[in-house]
Amino acid sequence: MSEKYSLRKVYGKTLSELGDKYKNIVVLDGDLSKSTKTEIFQKKFPDRFFDIGIAEADLIGTAAGLASCDKIPFVSSFAIFATGKCWEQIRNTIAYSKFNVKIVATHACLSVGEDGASHQNCEDIAIMNVIPNMQIIVPSDDVSTRFFTEKIANIDGPVYMRLPRNETERIYCEDKEFKFGKAEILRDDGDITIFSIGLMTNIALKAAYILRQEGIKVNIVDIITVKPIDKETILNFLKKTNKAVVCEEHEINGGLTSIISQLSAQYLPSHIESVSIEDKFGESGKWNELFNEYGLTEENIIKKVKVLQND
């Protein structure tokens, strides 16, 4: 089994490395710095780290004020608190003014595990995607996490970056250069396309391996930039295959399935299946057991690919 990496550790470590290069980076957390790993930055730059406490609305407002003075605030908390508890503050004090705030949330969706539904935000992409001016990044491994932690410091305006709690395997070469707004094509010799984000990309790769042994070839597109969505690449693949499975660790409403279905409906009607969470809350359990319970599995991807194949 290949080595696994903690994306939040990679985030915290990268941030601490960027501190020297970008003097205007400041980091804010809401009493979760040990979990979000911003404590790594805090240790190196205590004067540029601010623990705002258990007060997410204030956390967002403070970050907006710092951004108005040419700072680049990185704001971290769990996805449930960083987007849910202060959605309107993000909309009104950050996005409306296009302030340069980077909200980097960890512990997204079912990856939270044992803490249960109250802490599992499986709606975060939906509620961030609807805000004008917001940009969304969902890295799928440690290499993309490291790359985009620096990249978003160089992108003007608000960004939401979503990370999981658990570890995942490396997908990309260590020196891989990504493009903001551009999806990554991991397999492109198939008759059916898999669009995926985050942890689901690794799971899709495993499904593709099994399918190949059965003689079924699939394309895999790792979306990474959810907003602005890479319309060109998505439509190219829909044109090629007309059949797609969208894989996301997010509820089916408002996430990647919705975004790609909308593109398909507008430009290129295609048969689209979804491997995602139904319209329901999560629960306590180990993250991998929850993934099984909620159908975020290789088996389910394979099943959906076969549905499309027989269509």
């Binding site: 609305a57 407002g61 403070t62």
Partner: protein
């Protein structure tokens, strides 16, 4: 400006507020009229700013957290020269730089998009922290409402400013007693204010918010306070200066008709 000049100026700005809201047939006269004396003293006699360079980085900042008092803010900004006074006629109209509530990207001199209550003081904390990091000596003024103080975020920010010892923040509480649904005491009872702010670790100054000498003394005192943030609790009258609007909750967010507008202007012109 001396007291006589301030008196004349404030009257002129009150007329501008009434006309703005009359022209738009929409807006919030009550809380604008209660706030305008303080804003006039602040912008003319205390704030270090440059209307020709609204984003000068050494400027003092003013954040209107109670964003519905935008007519007061726009009147003073236009008077200071941030944009032509003709823009005031376009308040709340399509394609105007003067939105119903302050918009950072649209209006020169507006520091933060506000109006959704409770959010401005947190923003002010961010600006104040940046000032500390950069060792700049600007001050951050932030006006909040008494009804607005029912928002929990105000108290989150109050802790924040106190915790980080942001002595470059001066909050101003426009204590006019009324919110849309009635007297703040009958609705949510956010009082007592003095005890609350002291308990949150702030330096508290209590004044009559329509008395220029008291307003000036408070801003002078703020400058001398080190190690903690300051809040000026300003006792004000909602609708101040227009007899039929004073202390009348009906005028929180209502535009005068032609007869009411003329009567208001007549009363205000009499003061000149």
């Amino acid at each position: 400006m001396n007291t006589d000049e301030l008196r004349l100026k404030v009257n002129e700005l009150r007329i501008a507020i009434i006309d703005m809201i009359f022209n738009a047939q929409s807006g919030h006269p009550g809380g604008s009229l209660s706030a305008i004396d303080i804003l006039t003293v602040l912008y003319n006699n205390f704030m270090k700013h440059n209307p020709q360079n609204a984003i000068w980085n050494e400027r003092d900042r003013f954040i209107l957290s109670k964003g519905h008092a935008s007519p007061a803010l726009y009147a003073i900004l236009a008077d200071q020269g941030y944009f032509p006074k003709e823009e005031l006629d376009r308040f709340r109209k399509v394609n105007s730089m003067l939105q119903g509530h302050p918009s950072y990207l649209k209006t020169p001199g507006v520091e933060a998009s506000t109006g959704s209550l409770g959010q401005g003081l947190s923003f002010a904390c961010g600006v104040a922290i940046a000032g500390k990091i950069d060792k700049m000596d600007y001050s951050v003024y932030c006006m909040i409402g008494d009804g607005e103080s029912e928002e929990g975020q105000i108290w989150e920010a109050a802790m924040n400013a106190s915790r980080f010892e942001l002595d470059n923040i001066c909050a101003i509480l426009d204590y006019n007693h009324l919110q849309i649904d009635g007297d703040i005491y009958d609705i949510k009872r956010p009082q007592p204010f003095v005890e609350k702010w002291i308990a949150f670790g702030w330096h508290v100054i209590e004044i009559n918010g329509h008395n220029f000498e008291e307003i000036s003394r408070a801003f002078e005192e703020f400058k001398t306070i080190k190690g903690k943030p300051t809040v000026i609790i300003a006792h004000t009258i909602k609708g101040k200066g227009v007899s039929f609007m004073e202390n009348n909750v009906e005028w929180h967010g209502k535009a005068p008709d032609k007869i009411q507008r003329d009567q208001a202007i007549k009363e205000l012109e009499r003061n000149v």
